[in-house]
């Protein structure tokens, strides 16, 4: 019973709850038990079983009164970057190790309003800076997937939303929230065989999410199916006057749009710039497979040019650290978080920040401080902004011809824990396909479409026009049908 409950998708779980096949409390118990069993994955920083059961109980009471939200009774996980009232919110950093917010982020408020149950706060790269979830102060997350030829090798779940990805994949949550600054939802989703969607910049409120790089950060859903993802997004999205970059637009019924659609005549763009050296041949093959599936569904495949793609990574690694260096200045030991006492103010700042931040965060603060410094600002920051505009322009040109762009999500499958550690550049290269999307503020989704020869999940990415989430979900849904995967790490398929 317990095991089968955690294998239900969000849509199936809602159905079971509706039919009273089981209660939210029972469903929650099943997840809490599984979480306990798989603590070795280190997917959660904080588990909130008491809160979860209390929320589940309330949900069951609402269900009796027929007051049901979009996610009524469904236990979810929240990336530990979203502030949750009364629940420790760490950003996986020592500097916020014991920080308990007095407020609730807009996104999580939306999720609770829709009836979901909080299982806990998931692990992540410290301040969402990383692509493998190894920079967390609370230790790395281990992917639930096993390497086909080396079952003892520990694999990364990707990052930065690695805890959310591992939790959803390993059935430690029905669905989860992530945030995506340069690929932090899509790349881990691809690595663990789940669906991850990064919405258009401005669709989901940033209020109450610990900021990494404000002009790139965007919250989004991570779930086991495209349908589940659509439901989660619907609950999360919406205008928030507390976020000046939030866009006031009507949120469509994403889920309903999956019931009946046709891809006939839809134009799918294939950017040749996304064929990069070092990309696994099987990923290229899968990409071709995706094109064929979509062609069979009636879509037209067209080549598009995104000539400035090669500048995306350097541009990103100027803009993101620049904003981060300023966003993280508030962690100074004065008002909240870690403080290392000292004789002078400067010593207090230095000792606190030296002890509170990990290596990767320090590296990015230093890079960001450098590129904003007098004498370097024009050479780095201003130039990066110009390139960012050109990258956006590339997409705008492409979208004159096509509706959606299809690419791989990442150039590799999940790698081993500890690999790529010595060379940050090779780690950064893993974001090569996801980063341009953030720079352009576009929506994109990663959908699992196959397994590598090492029996590890691989994903394809669909990039849409601004606020083109509905089309993205429809195309992803088609790919999901064609791929017909179980996406179950326990089965290894």
């Amino acid at each position: 019973m317990t095991e089968s409950l955690v294998n239900l998708t969000l849509v199936q779980a809602l159905d079971g709850l509706k039919k009273k096949s089981f209660s939210s409390v029972e469903l929650t118990h099943a997840y809490l038990a599984n979480m306990q069993q798989k603590r070795n994955l280190n997917a959660y920083i904080s588990e909130t079983p008491d809160k979860a059961l209390a929320m589940a109980k309330q949900s069951d009471q609402r269900r009796v009164k027929d007051m049901v939200g979009l996610l009524e009774g469904v236990p979810v996980a929240i990336k530990d970057l979203f502030c949750t009232e009364g629940v420790k919110t760490t950003a996986a950093s020592r500097i916020l190790e014991n920080f308990i917010p007095t407020y609730e982020s807009t996104i999580t408020q939306n999720i609770w309003k829709n009836g979901a149950v909080l299982l806990g706060k998931t692990n992540l790269d410290e301040f969402a800076m990383g692509s493998s979830n190894i920079t967390s102060h609370f230790g790395p997350v281990i992917s639930p997937w096993k390497h086909g030829s080396d079952r003892n090798k520990k694999l990364v779940p990707g990052g930065s939303s690695g805890g959310s990805a591992a939790a959803v994949s390993a059935r430690l949550a029905v669905a989860a929230t992530g945030t995506d600054t340069g690929g932090s939802i899509r790349q881990p989703a691809a690595f663990v065989g789940i669906v991850g969607l990064k919405p258009t910049y401005g669709l989901c409120s940033r209020w109450g999410i610990v900021a990494f790089a404000s002009s790139l950060d965007q919250a989004g859903p991570m779930a086991r199916t495209v349908g589940d993802t659509a439901l989660m997004l619907q609950a999360m999205a919406g205008y928030d006057p507390q976020d000046s970059t939030s866009v006031n637009t009507q949120v469509p019924d994403y889920f309903a749009a999956l019931k009946n659609y046709s891809l006939r005549g839809l134009k799918i763009g294939i950017p040749k710039e996304y064929v990069v050296p070092g990309m696994a041949p099987e990923i290229e093959k899968l990409w071709q497979q995706g094109m064929n599936w979509l062609k069979s569904a009636g879509a037209e495949i067209q080549e598009v040019q995104l000539p400035h793609t090669k500048y995306a990574l350097p541009t990103y690694y100027i803009i993101a650290p620049a904003e981060a260096s300023s966003n993280l200045a508030r962690y100074d030991g004065v008002r909240y978080g870690l403080r290392i006492p000292a004789q002078t103010l400067d010593d207090m700042y230095e000792l606190t920040r030296a002890a509170g931040f990990g290596r990767e965060v320090k590296r990015r603060i230093l890079i960001g401080t450098y590129v904003l410094s007098a004498g370097y600002y024009d050479a780095y920051y201003v130039k990066a902004q110009k390139l960012r505009a050109l990258i956006l322009q590339d997409f705008q040109e492409a979208y004159k011809k096509v509706d959606v762009i299809l690419t791989p999500t990442a150039p590799t499958q999940a790698f081993g824990l500890g690999e790529k550690m010595s060379d940050p550049i090779s780690m950064y290269l893993n974001d090569v396909f996801t980063v341009p999307v953030n720079l352009a503020g576009l929506p994109a989704i990663s959908v699992p479409v196959g397994l590598s020869s090492d029996k590890l999940p691989l994903g394809l990415q669909l990039i849409g026009k601004p606020f083109g989430e509905t089309t993205l979900l429809q195309v992803a849904h088609q790919l999901e049908k064609n791929a017909s995967l179980k996406n179950d790490p326990d089965l290894g398929e």
Binding site: A91, L96, P101, S326, D332, L345
Partner: protein, 488 residues
């Protein structure tokens, strides 16, 4: 700009000229802060007016307060300045405990208001145009309190996030007097517009003064910036000291180091705060949490159309419309409330000059004595108007009116009420006055004889006697006329 300058300073070997530009920080009059909903009241208990945004809690985001934007636009219009339809908020990054986010949101490359000017009035009756470089919006920091504990600093964040306008002038100021006139004029304009209350003692207006000296006509000298001067008197002291300090250095063969200096109000001196080499690198960049501020032309036009009459225009109108002297007009427009009082006084047809005199001389004199402002005046414009009317109608003489005025102020009663109660009606009945004149002449036959033999000065004696006999109620003009007739 013509450099007619009587403000030169005599040095050991020649004349020196002071060149100054001002950066004024004016707190916007607003219920709430620039980027948060927290209240912006002065004098509240420490850390009681602090929102999550002001305290820079994780994940908090700024939202522009539209009212503060309007206030800045109005001020810009009052300074005859260009309003930039696109402006950008930047982050000025530095670490300090009273700056919670580790950056101040300000405007750097693209301020909301561009170049403009204001006209200052000088004691010699001349006026001078001072060019404004720009006006930009920024947040205030909190307050660090160092004197409550031997080795602890306390931080009060009530002020953190309050909206400020930084108003930067060109280096057009040449003397402490001009600086004072500039500050007063700027304050006056903002008070008219209700965009800043200008209370320097509460810190809602403070200024940084850039001072350099040169020989007249020479190149600009190296400047020093005197930070955070918070009264007009201090500004004058700081300038006098700083100019003399720079001249002494130069005359002794030294050079001026560009630096930031602090004014010590107790000693009346300035001292080094930090040198140029130690100037912090603020790493300005556009705040990614805020989109560029875009204004609509029509929006600016609407504010322009509804802008109230400003002091310079009002002064000119008072002179043109009521034939007032420049001095009277200047006094009447010095505060918006005084001008409003005066115009209320003239809302009924009254002699503008007489009304101005009663306001400037009598009412101000009285308010000064009791230590109250025009807003707290015990006599309303309507009440003072009634008094002026009684004088105009010949019911009260000037002297009688002054007595009535005092009683009005003290009792709050209307002038007419006091007149009838005290029987103060001026005697305008010629028969009655003639009767008193005859009495006086009969009881002073010798004086009459003297007058008639050519001692003209005695006329005043007779006037005084008649006035006395009438209890001061005789209409002076009529008395004069009838007395002359009786003595002829």
């Amino acid at each position: 700009m013509a450099e007619t300058n009587n403000n030169l300073i005599q040095g050991k070997n020649g004349l020196w000229e002071i060149v100054m530009g001002l950066e004024v920080h004016a707190q916007i009059s607003s219920q709430s802060k620039l980027f948060s909903g927290a209240a912006a009241d002065f004098g509240a208990e420490p850390n009681t007016q602090v929102s999550l945004v002001d305290a820079a809690m994780p994940g908090m985001l700024p939202v522009i307060n539209a009212f503060c934007i309007e206030q800045a636009i109005k001020t810009g219009l009052g300074l005859n300045a260009t309003i930039n339809l696109k402006s950008v908020f930047d982050r000025k990054n530095y670490f300090y405990p009273d700056l919670p986010a580790g950056y101040q949101i300000s405007q750097y490359l693209y301020p909301i208001v561009g170049s403009g000017y204001l006209t200052i009035d000088l004691a010699n009756g001349q006026s001078k145009k001072i060019r404004i470089t720009r006006l930009h919006l920024e947040q205030d920091a909190g307050k660090s309190i160092h004197d409550q504990h031997p080795h602890k600093t306390y931080v009060d964040l009530n002020r953190a996030g309050i909206a400020l306008m930084e108003i930067v002038s060109e280096p057009d100021l040449r003397s402490a007097e001009e600086v004072a006139a500039y500050l007063k004029k700027l304050r006056m304009i903002m008070r008219y517009l209700k965009t800043c209350d200008g209370n320097m003692e509460e810190g809602s207006m403070r200024c940084d003064i850039n001072v350099s000296v040169r020989h007249p006509g020479g190149n600009l000298g190296t400047r020093c910036e005197i930070k955070n001067v918070n009264s007009i008197r201090f500004a004058q002291q700081a300038i006098d000291y700083e100019a003399r300090r720079q001249i002494d250095i130069l005359e002794n063969g030294g050079t001026i180091e560009q630096e930031t200096r602090l004014f010590d109000a107790n000693k009346g001196t300035t001292r080094t705060m930090r040198s140029k080499e130690h100037a912090p690198d603020y790493r300005y960049f556009p705040d990614p949490d805020l989109l560029p501020l875009l204004l609509k032309k029509e929006e600016v036009q609407r504010l322009k159309d509804t802008l109230i009459e400003l002091p310079d225009a009002k002064k000119q109108r008072l002179i043109d419309q009521y034939a007032l002297s420049a001095y009277d007009a200047t006094v009447l427009v010095s505060e918006p409330e005084i001008a409003t009082y005066y115009e209320k006084l003239l809302s009924k047809k009254r002699d503008p000059k007489v009304a101005a005199n009663w306001l400037i001389v009598e009412l101000f004199g009285y308010l000064n004595k009791i230590g109250k402002t025009i807003v707290e005046s015990p006599i309303s414009p309507e009440q003072l108007g009634e008094l002026v009317d009684l004088i105009g109608a010949g019911v009260l003489s000037g002297k009688m009116a002054k007595d009535v005025f005092v009683e009005m102020a003290e009792t709050g009663q209307a002038a007419g009420q006091i007149v009838s109660k005290r029987g103060l009606q001026q005697v305008t009945n010629s028969k009655e006055i003639e009767r008193i004149i005859q009495q006086v002449l009969q009881s002073n036959p010798d004086k009459v004889a003297e007058y008639k033999s050519g001692k003209d000065k005695l006329f005043g004696f007779f006037v005084g006697q008649v006035m006395k006999a009438s209890d001061g109620k005789a209409n002076p003009a009529l008395l004069n006329e009838l007395l002359k007739k009786a003595l002829s």
